[in-house]
Assembly symmetry: C2
Homo-oligomer: 302 residues x 2
């Protein structure tokens, strides 16, 4: 197979795009996919300072590099979860990568908030993955708003988005189906959220990271054993193999045909979030999920 751009020997085949690229042209293809996503969904306005949520994995570090190379003003934000070994490695990967690029990085330590994940896990019976996700989203959003970043970017890829959409579709969950997407506009209490890599698969980003020599953490989180997402990801990869393009079609069709239907329904129900009585950040209950988690962890410590 030959490279679509320069006709050299191809190194990466992309059946869903019915094409292939050599090691030099492939990163250009990846960058153009991100550029198109940003342009098409009007993700970043000229002059916007972009806060990038980074975990130390390949996706968020690749996103940092791509946004930087596309000329955006990038600031990294990492949440140190305080999980033995795993968090030390993740933080070191972020710090090393940002130092190399000469870009600013802020680290929020959950330990200082009284919310180190091993402690939270021992005190709260809910699955830790969903609690941890809630905490990270909360602190990313809080930091963006308090420090005047108009936009918060995350490294979610097509596989993440498709498996989340599939999980929400199996439950036909109105709340999620009405606002899942690569762009969530800013609203009261929420920064604008963007996912510029939503059209790239895990495989495509892994190739990019390898070819560009990105030094990222590889080991998964030691707590994520029982999650159902890996099952959905496997299922969709199997489908993609037999029907190239299935993932991106499912997701793009949803954005065009599915989400508007659920959004219209949710508008009629008219449930808007209100400020948490404790921290002031938006919630659908009286006190937000993070303040309730904090209270539960603190109660148990007495």
């Amino acid at each position: 197979m030959k490279c679509r751009k320069c006709k050299a020997v191809a190194a990466v085949a992309l059946p869903s795009h019915n094409t292939a690229f050599c090691p030099d042209c492939y990163p250009v293809f990846v960058r153009s996919q991100v550029e198109r996503a940003i342009h098409r969904h009007k993700m970043i306005a000229p002059g916007d300072r972009v806060l990038v949520a980074v975990s130390g994995g390949k996706d968020s570090l690749a996103l940092t590099l791509l946004l930087h190379e596309l000329g955006h003003d990038v600031h990294g934000l990492h949440v140190d979860l305080d999980i033995p070994n795993s968090s030390t490695d993740a933080r070191a990967a972020c710090e090393g990568f940002f130092a190399k690029l000469g870009l600013p990085l802020t680290v929020i330590e959950l330990r200082r908030e009284g919310l180190a994940i091993p402690l939270v896990k021992s005190r709260i019976k809910r699955p830790i993955c969903s609690v941890c996700g809630k905490l990270k989203r909360y602190y990313f959003n809080k930091f963006a708003l308090e420090n005047d970043y108009p936009v918060l970017a995350t490294g979610h890829n097509l596989d993440d988005e498709v498996s989340r959409l599939f999980a929400n579709t199996i439950r036909w969950d109105h709340a999620y189906l009405s606002d899942q997407g690569p762009l969530l506009p800013a609203e009261s209490g929420f920064a604008r959220k963007i996912k510029p890599m939503y059209r790239l698969t895990e495989f495509e980003i892994a190739n990019f990271s390898f070819l560009r020599g990105i030094d990222h953490v590889i080991a998964g989180c030691p707590y994520s054993g029982k999650a159902s997402f890996p099952i959905y990801k496997g299922l969709w990869s199997g489908l993609e193999e037999r029907m190239p393009g299935a993932k991106v079609q499912f997701y793009e069709n949803f954005l065009r045909e599915g989400r508007p239907v659920f959004a219209a329904w949710s508008d009629q129900q008219g449930q808007l979030p209100t400020p948490c009585t404790e921290c002031g950040y938006p919630t659908s209950a009286e006190r937000c999920g993070v303040c309730r988690i904090k209270a539960m962890v603190a109660d148990d410590e007495k």
Copy 2:
């Protein structure tokens, strides 16, 4: 493993129900599932004559037997597609089965309508499976209305329903998502349609057919090679194995949470079918799909 009802040695294990049955109690379980579906969705009113669409396969013949044993007034309707070998076997299986039970059966021959499937296939470029499905649905509905059957029952099982729902969901197809379900109420030009076996999997019905000695055709249609449904069925069976109950949850959640959202959306769009200018049966175009197929086949014959 032991039978849930009588504690004898079990012959059929049902992980999605977390139970197992012996050969005597299993058919009782299957019948109760069908009875519950009929009751819950008010599928059949007392005294309703039920027209059952039969293909000669295990599902529709099992449905005939179950409805008969539940005391309903059953009349069979078979559409002879005129496919060499395949259609002869299918028709013979239906005729033999209905004769054995002493139940009435009507056969509609597509050949007499000028619509033998091999002829249609040679004249029309669209995938033959969808054309054939359209023709069968048309003649089932027409016969039910012309002969005053208030209700038309089909043998669709959970795997059929889930793969169809999944196919419609991948496309986020409003028209289908707003009215797919085990009961479609009668409306102008349409008989009430019911799927009393929608909660039973293919595997569960195959076991029932085997244990009750139902003599059905096994060979698939020689034309159905390229259909995508088998891929979806395989995918969902893989998921069900890892998450027992996934199929029925996806489908029941859709009926409860998904369909009403799409139905409300479609009501707002307000597209109602109108009578076909040629045959008078409902269509969203001026002339219905079947009349257009007839014209295309006839044009080519000139």
